[in-house]
Subunit: 638 residues, 2 copies
Amino acid sequence: MKVIINTPDNRKVIDVSSGENLIDIIRSAGINIDAPCNGFGTCGKCKVKLVNGKVKEKKNSHKLSNQNKDSKYILACSSTIIEPVEIDVPKESILDVTNIKIEKNNTEHYEKYYNIKKTFESKHSTKKHLEILELQLDIPNIDDNISDVTRIKKFITRELKNKNIEIGIALLRKIPSVLRENEFKIAIIYTVDKGIIKLLDIRSQGNLNIYGVAIDIGTTSVSACLVNLKDDSILSEVSCANAQSKYGADVINRIIYSTKGNGLNKLKEAMVSESINPLIIELCLLNSISKDDILIFTASANTTMSHLLLEVYADYLRKEPYIPVFADTKDIAVTSEDMGLNINKNAIVIISPSVASYVGGDISAGVIASDMRESEKNTILIDLGTNGEIVFGNKDFLMTCACSAGPAFEGGEISCGMRAAHGAIEAVTIDQLSYIPNLDIIGSYRPYGICGSGIIDLISELKRVNLIDPKGKFRKDSHSNRVKFDEYGIGYFIVAFKKEYGTDEDICITEIDIDNFIRAKAAVYSATYVLLSSLGLDFDQVDEIKVAGGIGSHINIKSAINIGLFPDIDVEKYHFIGNSSLTGSYMSLINKNAKDYIDNTAENMTYLELSVYPGYMDEFISASFIPHTNIKRFPSHK
Amino acid sequence: MKVIINTPDNRKVIDVSSGENLIDIIRSAGINIDAPCNGFGTCGKCKVKLVNGKVKEKKNSHKLSNQNKDSKYILACSSTIIEPVEIDVPKESILDVTNIKIEKNNTEHYEKYYNIKKTFESKHSTKKHLEILELQLDIPNIDDNISDVTRIKKFITRELKNKNIEIGIALLRKIPSVLRENEFKIAIIYTVDKGIIKLLDIRSQGNLNIYGVAIDIGTTSVSACLVNLKDDSILSEVSCANAQSKYGADVINRIIYSTKGNGLNKLKEAMVSESINPLIIELCLLNSISKDDILIFTASANTTMSHLLLEVYADYLRKEPYIPVFADTKDIAVTSEDMGLNINKNAIVIISPSVASYVGGDISAGVIASDMRESEKNTILIDLGTNGEIVFGNKDFLMTCACSAGPAFEGGEISCGMRAAHGAIEAVTIDQLSYIPNLDIIGSYRPYGICGSGIIDLISELKRVNLIDPKGKFRKDSHSNRVKFDEYGIGYFIVAFKKEYGTDEDICITEIDIDNFIRAKAAVYSATYVLLSSLGLDFDQVDEIKVAGGIGSHINIKSAINIGLFPDIDVEKYHFIGNSSLTGSYMSLINKNAKDYIDNTAENMTYLELSVYPGYMDEFISASFIPHTNIKRFPSHK
């Protein structure tokens, strides 16, 4: 039978069999339907409108409002086809994974990378990955008829006093034409690895365009820098959603999806073909360079993303005792061709080493951006993302743990949540008397939703003006026309009336959203607390807190302390270090010593497995209030 | 417009445009039409019958008899489509490239390999490529939660005292399930290369099926052995036509084809997907083994075949100064996956090193089978194939050269020629009085054609009974009813009347065939002569002649001397060593020292480029008689 699927841009007719699940049908039609919970019926994001026909619904979902139900909305994941139907997939149910965001190409934005580079290189020397050797080979004749490869080797060995040379098949195929087009006057680009000269490229002399791509693969977003390897300058930075998001918002849902059918391959393809390669193409286009001139690729990612990037079975990451297939990446031989990357086939591929199943290469790489291994000061590094990772230490030791924050910090599993993109409310204050919120919206007058930093502000402000109690429930006795309760008695606050901003619907935050957020912030706070207390320390002994992660730099620290996300210490001790994972990738790309430093960081970090740590669950529950059940921990809280 | 193509088994209707070449259309229909000359209209093998419609013919080809023309036969390569046509492609115009020949699985046949092994290993020690290490890893728990790879590495390093380990991506993907299915009790199969432990496979303990495939890639035929690496025993030997033959019979035609469009890829695919992989599958089926248990692949081939195997541009091989892209293969990193081989993705790939553009890995490998590097005796190795290669030397030196014999020794470019397969006439004697030939036919009473050894006998006998003169022309005054002349005055001899054997047509040898064969034998003889005379030596100083190559072992040495193919020295000095290239591949497969020996052989062979050697052309012309213009060189000739 037929299913007709209308999207805002398109109409597709699909042949299906009775009993098929609607979300699978929509996905098979190539539509990136949003499903953070990966089809478990718990997030309510995959709603579609039934235009004709009917479906068998799994259950009467609480995720749909009565208004939605009256308008014939259903959840695709909970619907089974029993007869031909026609559905509309609304814009908000489609995950925009192709929208690439280009960072403004200004010196200021890149200054933070250069500062890290300067600091690192002042303490450690610089060792480049790539070397260039210009050679004028003898032109062959009937008496000097050695092969092209032997001829190249002869000259390299003469120059470098090393006979161990390796030439990959892709480069081998290129050799005869390059030699002859340039009358045997050529430049060789190579790297030395474990004493072996690995030839990466062969070119005409003078053509020394050598680039690298440094990348951070987050669960939700992927960011990439194009670097000119001649002077280490960053040419552009771009980012986009991780296209895997359509298969689940967090690593657990992704791992579950990866174990079904050819899910593992689909996840790898979504990451490589729909996220990483489009970013690389964008970087090439922006700078008019050839992908073949990209000779190094460095990626930092959490352990799950690293596994999925290499299409390695990841299910044991989520099952006790939480064992990664690989952590250290030094011994893994992988080529850019194996990975399907749209760069030079001989490019060097570097994947930052993980520490454990939930502390990944993004953290090992991120430590380099925190400078904490060089410091006498007791420093906490908090990386806020879909997972929250915390590192504590100084030049003498490093200790780390991780917690599952879920996608709340990136706007996920929040009804009005969104990424920090155009139209996102990123900062909020609420007037104490009128309860009217004052909104900072990214690049727009009209809001589409709220991103992580906006939610932190909003919850902090709702608490401050006393509209919610410490459990995050709306006070029934409030006098605000913005506080409402739905038919199930669930309270919500209207952040933006549709009539105020001309939006399609009111933008609201519900008690369920606040509850989701409280769980996220409680996870991070209690993890940080337990990490220190496992060493017999308290926040008093902390000299600095470095906050990393996509949303990090937009957070109002005071708001974050007020809701009990961050410890209540002097705000002057907090520093934002931006995307430390991407910074680490950049450092690894431009300096072999930085790569070794990151490897060494991973090896020397002690991992604390919170899930089995006695007392962690109690701490988590105590932290599941605003700001905390133990108010003494938050002395500055009014 | 439509072209209907009928084959003995099938009927295909193809859409074509006016002006398309018929041979291209037939090829695009997936029919392996025979075209040794690769469509230059010179071999006459691609004849098809025009059933309906007409084509534009390039020229009135002498390659078609009047009888053929009357029966509406045309040459596909010389025909252009101008209107819809229907053609029949007769069986004899179709190259049978899928017909795999299985050597009888008997000890006697494999004894020659074991003898070489015994001889070699008595002088050089044995060093296996593969090592097996059984490990009982600790089972991970929450306090011992290092990654799978780190765990494996820890145990390997402990056992082998080496920290340099390399794991490929395909193996990495296999690790988590194998560890857990075997409760962390596993066997590791590895090789040590340049000080690095390369992991090839990970398995349950006790499952130690390890196999290798040794292969000889000839221009015309491909032969392969399956070897049990536990005891170096040969399990089966199979061979088939090199499917590249449809694109040309000799290396020059193949190289020309490879430079056009995606010809290079087509040739590589024909070799790998249509010849090598089917042989491997056959070997697996015959022995009920899994392709994943094939962990080493060694190939020996001429330089052109080695280039095409790796899809490397080969055009400079045929252009002065005849430079290969690669000769030595030590520095080339190529995986079985890169090559598309149907074996374990981590298998070791070894390609025997070439010496020069026309002395390939088949010769470097073949020398090991001749034992000449170990001998005081002056030895000539003659490898008879589509190219003829000659090596001369002893334990102190090796000198080599090559000549283009063309496919005549393998039955190519001979009107009644065929490979030494079922139905081939392999030996002939002719009665001096009656001129009736007595035929030895391979595995059949009814002959289909004549293979190389049969042609040598036949020409020798025709000369002996005085039916042909020293130029290979039939004497007009002979009294044999088997000698005829066609409408162009070209003489031929009926080897088998159709009424005698119940064949479809008479089997004949023509003056053109004899002329082709004389050129082949003259090339080999004069190359051998020049190689020795370049050192100031003559055949008197030769102690042994080792004859290798597919047809080698069936040759009647006396006949070969009589026609002037081989030097006229004591027949006792001649020894057949069979397929020395395959023997070399086998040795390289089972013993690392043999691989090194072959590399060393290639490095130490001095190559003589005949095409520019003064006097070679004169020698060739002098040798273009039966047996030679200088009859003193053949004292035993009557």
